[in-house]
Amino acid sequence: MSVTFLLLIAFAVLMLLLLVWVLRDPRKQAKPDSDPESSEEFGQRHVGYFSQVRQALAAEDFAFLASRGSPQLARRLRRERRKIALAYLACLRGDFLRLWRLARVIASMSPEVGVGQELARLRLGLIFSFRYEMIRVKIVFGLSPLPDLGSLSDVVSRLSIRLETAMKNLGERAALAAKLSSSLDNGQGLDTP
C-alpha cells in the first residue's frame, strides 16, 4: 500500500475522530468550576490574593529564615515556595482562559467579526499555553528562580476589569433589546412622545 493511500485512510479516520469531538456536547465535558459565571468570581479572588502570595514569596523572609534556620528548613521553604508559585501560576492561567473565553462570547454576539482579530487571539492563546507549560516545567525542575508574578497579575487584573465592564454594558443592552422586543410582541409598541 502506497504512502498516499495510507495518508488518505489516516486522514479519513482523523476526520471521523474530529467529527465525534466536534459534535460532543461541550457542556457535558465541562467541569463544574469552568462555568463562566462561577469562575469569574473565582478568577477575581485569585488576583485578589496576590498580596498574600507576594508575602509568602518575599525574598527577605527567605533570607532571614536561611540565615537563622538549618539547611533542611531552607530546602523545605524552597519546596513550599515552588508549590505556591505553581499554584498561583495555574490560577493566573485559569484567569487568562476565562478572559479568553469571554472575548469569544463577545465575538459570537457581534454582528461583524474580524478574521484578523480572531486569528490573532487564537495565536495568543496557543502561545500562552505553550509558554505556561514551559515555565511550569522550569519551576517544577527548579531550573528557574521563582518568578515575579506581580506583573502577570496586574495584566490579568486590568483585563478582567475591562472585560467585566464591557460584559455589563453588553448585558444591559441585551436586556433592553429583549424588553423592547417583548413589548412589541405584546402589541404595546414603543412609547412615543
Binding site: 459534535l23 472575548a103 465575538a107 461583524e112 483585563l159 454594558n169 441585551a174
Partner: protein, 269 residues
C-alpha cells in the same frame, strides 16, 4: 441491474426504502418547510435511484455509457448535498451573523486548500476514465468532510449551541463522506489491477454506509424540528471593534510577561 449480485440488490432495495422513509418524515413532520434544500436533496436521491435502475437495466451499445450516466447523476446529487449542508449550517449560525461570516470564509478557504491538494495528489494518476471518476468522487468527499469539520470546529470554538437534530444530520453527511474516502482508498489499494472487477464490493460497502446515514437521519427527523429561537439581541458592531483589539493587546502583554519569565536567567538563591 440484473448483473449485480443478490446482496447488492437487497441493499439497494433497503437503501431506497430508507430514503423514502426520510422523505416521508420530512413531509409528515412539516420539516420540509424549514429545510427545503435538504428535502430537495432527499428527493433527488430517490430520483437518482430510479434513474440508475433504468440505466443499469438498459443494455447500451457503448459499455462506458452506463458508467458515465451514473457518475453524472452522482455529480448532481453531490452538488445538492453541498447545498443541503450549507443550508443546515446557515440555519444554525443565523443568530450569530459575525460567526457565520467567519464560517463561510473558513469553508471557502479550507475547500480551496483541499481541492488544491487533491489536484496535486491526483496529478499524473488519471489512468482510465473510470478511475478518474473514483478519484474525483474521493476528492469531493475529502473536500466536503474537511470543510464541514472546519465549520463545526469553529462552532464548537465559539460555544454555539447546535440542536441535536442538526448535529445528527451534519454528522450523517460527514460519516458518509469519511467512509466513502476509506472504502474508495482501501479497495483501490487492495485490488489495484482488478479494482473494477470488485465493483460489487464497492457497492456493498458504500451502500451500507449510505443506509447508516439514512437511518441516523430517520431517527433525527422523527420529531418536528425545534422552533427557531428569536434572534439574539446583538451588541453593536462598534463594541466588538473597540473591545477585540484591546483584549488582544492585553493578552499579548500577558504573553510578553510570560516570555520574560521564560527567558529569565537563573539567579543565585
Amino acid at each position: 441491474m440484473y448483473g449485480f449480485p443478490l446482496p447488492v440488490l437487497r441493499l439497494w432495495a433497503c437503501s431506497v426504502l430508507a430514503q423514502l422513509l426520510v422523505l416521508a418524515l420530512l413531509f409528515l413532520k412539516g420539516n420540509f418547510r424549514k429545510l427545503p434544500y435538504f428535502t430537495a436533496y432527499a428527493a433527488l436521491n430517490i430520483c437518482q435511484a430510479a434513474f440508475l435502475f433504468f440505466v443499469y437495466s438498459h443494455s447500451w451499445s457503448n459499455p462506458d455509457t452506463s458508467g458515465i450516466l451514473a457518475w453524472t447523476s452522482e455529480c448532481l446529487t453531490l452538488v445538492a448535498q453541498a447545498l443541503a449542508t450549507t443550508e443546515i449550517l446557515e440555519i444554525t449560525l443565523r443568530p450569530y451573523q459575525g460567526i457565520w461570516g467567519l464560517g463561510w470564509r473558513a469553508l471557502t478557504v479550507v475547500s480551496g486548500i483541499v481541492v488544491l491538494l487533491v489536484a496535486l495528489a491526483a496529478r499524473g494518476h488519471w489512468a482510465t476514465s473510470s478511475s478518474s471518476w473514483f478519484q474525483l468522487d474521493r476528492g469531493y468527499h475529502l473536500t466536503f468532510a474537511s470543510a464541514l469539520i472546519a465549520c463545526l470546529a469553529l462552532v464548537r470554538y465559539y460555544s454555539i449551541p447546535v440542536p441535536p437534530v442538526f448535529k445528527m444530520l451534519l454528522g450523517g453527511f460527514c460519516f458518509y463522506s469519511c467512509t466513502e474516502i476509506v472504502v474508495n482508498t482501501l479497495l483501490q489499494a487492495f485490488f489495484k489491477k482488478d479494482f473494477f472487477r470488485h465493483q460489487a464490493a464497492w457497492q456493498l460497502l458504500t451502500m451500507s454506509s449510505f443506509i447508516v446515514m439514512q437511518a441516523i437521519w430517520a431517527v433525527a427527523l422523527r420529531k418536528p424540528l425545534p422552533v427557531e429561537k428569536r434572534q439574539a439581541a446583538l451588541p453593536s458592531d462598534s463594541d466588538y471593534q473597540r473591545l477585540s483589539p484591546e483584549i488582544n493587546e492585553d493578552l499579548r502583554r500577558l504573553n510578553e510577561k510570560l516570555l520574560r519569565l521564560w527567558k529569565l536567567e537563573a539567579l543565585p538563591q
